[in-house]
C-alpha cells in the first residue's frame, strides 16, 4: 500500500482516501446497476416468468442476461434527450443530479469492513473516519435531501401527474423521517454513541446481542420507514402506473431517466447498508470474535445484499398502499411505535440495564 502510494507521489493517507472513494462509489454504482438486473430477474422468478435473458455479451455469451445492463445503458445514452416545452429547463436538468448525489453520498459514513493497521497507520474502511462528529446523523441528513430530487423533478416537468407524484412522495418522505429518526435515536441511546463504528462495536459478534434482538420494534419501524425514504413499493408514491402514469419521472427520458432510476437503486443500497449497520452488526461476523479484514467486508456485503434483496422481494409481494393509509400508518402507527420504543429503552436504561 505504502509503496504504491509513494510511486504515485502521494502520502498513504491521501492515497487511501482516493482508493476508498473509488471503491465505494464505483462499488455502490455498479451494485445499483446490477440491482436493476436483480430486480427484473427476481421479479420474473417470483411471478413464474423468466425475465431478461436474451442480451448477450458481444452477441455470444448470455451470462444469465447480465449484459442487459450494458444494453440498457447504451440504449439510454443514445436516446433523444427530450425536454418538454413548458418545463423549467434549468431545474429539469438539475433534478436527476439532485436525486443522484444524495443517494450516493449517504454511504460515506458507513464502515464496510474492519479497520486495520498497516505500517503503523490505521486504515478505516469508511469514507469518513470514525469520530468525525457527524456519525449516523449524516445519512439521516443526506436522506432528507433526497426529497429535493423528487420534488424538483416533479415540479420542473410542468405536468399534473408529475407534480401529484412528487407531492405525494415528498409528503411521505418527510412524515416518515420522524419515525425513522426516533427509531435511530433509541439506538444511539442504548449504544451510548452515535458513530457507526461505535454502534457496530457495541453490538458485538454474537447475533443475539445485535440490535435486531434488542430492539425488534425499532427495527420494524426503521425498516418500514426506509421503504418510504427510498420510495420503494409498498410506499412508492412518487410513481404509480395505475393512477398517475409514471409519477415524478413521467417526462424524463434517456440518460436523465436512467440517472433517476440509478438514484433509486443507490438509495436502496445505502438503505440496506444502514439497516445492516444499525441492526445487524455491520461488518461483524457471527460467532467470530476477531475476523480478518476480508471476512468482515464479505460479511457486511452479504448482509447488505441480503437486505437489498429483501427490498426487491417485498416490492413484488406487497401491493401499493393507498395514500391516506400511508399517512395513517406514518403518523398514527409508526410515530407512536417509535416513541414507545424510545420510552421503553429509556426506562430500561434508567433501571440500569
Amino acid at each position: 500500500m505504502d509503496k504504491l502510494a509513494s510511486m504515485l507521489h502521494m502520502t498513504p493517507a491521501i492515497f487511501w482516501m482516493v482508493v476508498k472513494v473509488v471503491i465505494v462509489f464505483a462499488g455502490v454504482m455498479s451494485l445499483a446497476a446490477v440491482w436493476t438486473w436483480v430486480e427484473r430477474r427476481g421479479s420474473a422468478m417470483i411471478q413464474d416468468r423468466i425475465g431478461p435473458n436474451r442480451a448477450r455479451l458481444f452477441g455470444r455469451w448470455p451470462i444469465l442476461g447480465l449484459a442487459q445492463i450494458a444494453a440498457d445503458g447504451i440504449k439510454f445514452f443514445f436516446k433523444e434527450d427530450l425536454v418538454p416545452t413548458d418545463a423549467n429547463k434549468r431545474l429539469f436538468w438539475l433534478a436527476p443530479f439532485l436525486a443522484f448525489v444524495p443517494a450516493l453520498m449517504g454511504f460515506a459514513v458507513i464502515p464496510f469492513g474492519k479497520s486495520f493497521v498497516s505500517g503503523g497507520q490505521t486504515y478505516h474502511l469508511a469514507l469518513l473516519d470514525p469520530g468525525n462528529g457527524m456519525g449516523m446523523l449524516y445519512p439521516l441528513a443526506i436522506g432528507g435531501m433526497a426529497v429535493y430530487g423528487v420534488l424538483v423533478a416533479a415540479w420542473s416537468s410542468n405536468n399534473k401527474w408529475s407534480i401529484l407524484g412528487g407531492m405525494r412522495a415528498s409528503a411521505a418522505m418527510v412524515s416518515y423521517e420522524i419515525g425513522l429518526s426516533l427509531a435511530v435515536i433509541s439506538i444511539f441511546m442504548t449504544t451510548g454513541g452515535y458513530d457507526p463504528s461505535e454502534v457496530i462495536s457495541a453490538q458485538g459478534h454474537l447475533p443475539w446481542a445485535w440490535n435486531i434482538v434488542r430492539q425488534p420494534l425499532g427495527f420494524i419501524v426503521f425498516f418500514t420507514c426506509m421503504f418510504a425514504e427510498t420510495n420503494r413499493l409498498p410506499f412508492d408514491f412518487a410513481e404509480g402506473e395505475s393512477e398517475i402514469v409514471a409519477g415524478f419521472n413521467t417526462e424524463y427520458g434517456s440518460m436523465k431517466y436512467s440517472l433517476l432510476a440509478l438514484a433509486e437503486y443507490s438509495h436502496l443500497m445505502t438503505a440496506s447498508a444502514l439497516i445492516a449497520t444499525l441492526y445487524f452488526g455491520g461488518w461483524q461476523v457471527p460467532f467470530v470474535k476477531d475476523p480478518t479484514v476480508m471476512l468482515s467486508v464479505a460479511s457486511f456485503l452479504l448482509k447488505m445484499l441480503f437486505f437489498a434483496w429483501v427490498f426487491v422481494w417485498i416490492r413484488w409481494t406487497v401491493p401499493r398502499f393507498r395514500y391516506d393509509q400511508l399517512m395513517h400508518l406514518g403518523w398514527k402507527v409508526m410515530l407512536p411505535l417509535s416513541m414507545a420504543n424510545l420510552i421503553f429503552h429509556a426506562w430500561r436504561m434508567s433501571q440500569g440495564h
Binding site: N88, R90, L91, N132, G133, M134, G135, L137, Y138, L140, A141, I142, G143, G144, M145, V147, Y148, L151, V152, A154, W155, N158, I163, G166, M167, S170, A171, M173, V174, E177, S181, F188, G193, Y194
Partner: protein
C-alpha cells in the same frame, strides 16, 4: 474551504433575493443552508451542521416548497413599477448596517484577544455534549421552549380543526 462555503452561502442568499421564480428562490435558500452547514463543520460543530441540514433543508424548506407547489404559482411575478426612492433608501440602510456591524466586530474585545493570542483550537462538538448542555445546563430553558412548542401545536390543531 471557508471561502467556498461563504461564497455558496452568499451567492445562495443573493440568488434567493433576486430570483423572480419562487421555487428557484427556495432552491437558492437550500444552497444557502448548505453553505451555513459547511461553515458549521469548519467551526468544529458537525452536530449543528447535521441538524441544520436535517431540520432546515430536510424538513422546513421541503414544507415551504410543498406549499408553494400546492398553490402552484407557476407564473413569475410581474415586475412592479420601479421605485427609485425606496431603492436608494434601502441601499443606504443596508450600507449603514453593514458598516456598523463590521465596526462593532472590529472594536469588540474578543477580536483583540484573538489577535494577541491566536485562536484556540475548538473542541469538536458531539451529540453527547449537546445533550448535556440541553438537559443539564439549560434544562429550564429547554423545558420552557418545549412547553411553548406544545402549546403552539395544540393551538394549531385547534385552529385548523373546526369541529372538535
Amino acid at each position: 474551504m471557508f471561502i467556498t462555503f461563504a461564497l455558496i452561502t452568499l451567492l445562495g442568499a443573493l440568488g434567493m433575493l433576486l430570483q423572480k421564480n419562487v421555487i428557484m428562490a427556495g432552491l437558492c435558500m437550500v444552497a444557502t443552508f448548505f453553505g451555513v452547514a459547511g461553515l458549521f463543520v469548519l467551526l468544529a460543530n458537525p452536530v449543528a451542521a447535521a441538524l441544520q441540514i436535517i431540520v432546515y433543508t430536510g424538513a422546513i424548506l421541503v414544507l415551504v416548497l410543498f406549499v408553494i407547489m400546492m398553490l402552484n404559482s407557476h407564473e413569475e411575478e410581474k415586475a412592479q413599477a420601479p421605485r427609485p426612492i425606496q431603492r436608494w433608501v434601502s441601499l443606504a440602510l443596508v450600507a449603514a448596517l453593514a458598516f456598523g456591524s463590521v465596526k462593532l466586530v472590529l472594536a469588540s474585545s474578543g477580536l483583540k484577544a484573538l489577535g494577541e493570542s491566536g485562536a484556540a483550537v475548538p473542541q469538536a462538538m458531539t451529540l453527547q455534549k449537546v445533550g448535556t448542555a440541553l438537559f443539564a445546563d439549560h434544562l429550564l430553558g429547554f423545558e420552557v421552549a418545549g412547553f411553548l412548542l406544545l402549546a403552539a401545536m395544540i393551538g394549531a390543531v385547534a385552529l385548523t380543526k373546526r369541529n372538535l
